[in-house]
Symmetry: D2
Subunit: 99 residues, 4 copies
Amino acid sequence: MSETAAPHGYIHNKDDYLRRLRRLEGQARGLQRMVEEEKYCIDILTQVSAMTKALQSFALGLLDEHLDHCVLDAAKAGGSEAEIKLKEASDAIARLVKS
Amino acid sequence: MSETAAPHGYIHNKDDYLRRLRRLEGQARGLQRMVEEEKYCIDILTQVSAMTKALQSFALGLLDEHLDHCVLDAAKAGGSEAEIKLKEASDAIARLVKS
Amino acid sequence: MSETAAPHGYIHNKDDYLRRLRRLEGQARGLQRMVEEEKYCIDILTQVSAMTKALQSFALGLLDEHLDHCVLDAAKAGGSEAEIKLKEASDAIARLVKS
Amino acid sequence: MSETAAPHGYIHNKDDYLRRLRRLEGQARGLQRMVEEEKYCIDILTQVSAMTKALQSFALGLLDEHLDHCVLDAAKAGGSEAEIKLKEASDAIARLVKS
């Protein structure tokens, strides 16, 4: 963070991110309904794959904004802050790739 | 599917599956709170990775039960039903591996 | 394995599998050339993604044949062999999904 | 890129990257041997998972160096070059996460 609290990158699209998350919450509830109604396993798995993709896409969007704002700003400011931000971003990317 | 026919594999653990899905729903709500409170992107991404892993583990559990019950039963019965079930399972596995 | 050594499912397509693996070997050699010639990181990463997809597709093909032959045969034969084969397949699927 | 321009990040570890790629080439050859000798499908799949992980780890290492050098340098220099580099990196990350 820098000059008088530059906001996080995603803030500009906060509503869009909240909308995606509410949809994910709805997907989790839809899956509960499918299990309660004892729907066919394969149909449940299809919904799980869709939900995983939505989650992945949410994460990639957030990461983009983070690189474009927080990391870029830190890089411009230079110093150890830039390195710390890049290390954090790398670790987050590795977790996404491996999950 | 009905009580007279062979139930889906996951039915035996229905409560466990519902519990996992309620936790996933809670994770989606927790993420909304984080975005509303403008938490740090990297912390949000960490929660997304945890949620992706939970979703993956839910899917693998469900797939296991499906193979152990629906697919095994169809295989024993033989005929084209076995092939159809295996094809369905293969497609679901491919979607999971690719998502 | 069972009655007088039923062959593995993939044997029927052995040449196709060998061809895919030779291509993967070629991709690994192509990547070495790119690194030697100090090609641009992003271009190398694009090739790595292509190679990962090829490896994934090889694995899914092999798994399909395994389910269609070894697992189906074991399921028909019944008994503990069927359970062992399914457990093995489940573990292999989990490794693929998580890798 | 040339000796006079800033070298790619991975150049500092070129030998290490070449070693990893030779090991990947060896794994692809090992898999061919397993298919030729008609080894058990599950054992082949285990090797494929190991190779996928090695490939993923190679990609994450390369991406790290790319962010730490090429992207950081472009960010410091500023201008549209920084944005282009970040967009490229984002796209490469998305391909890795989805593959």
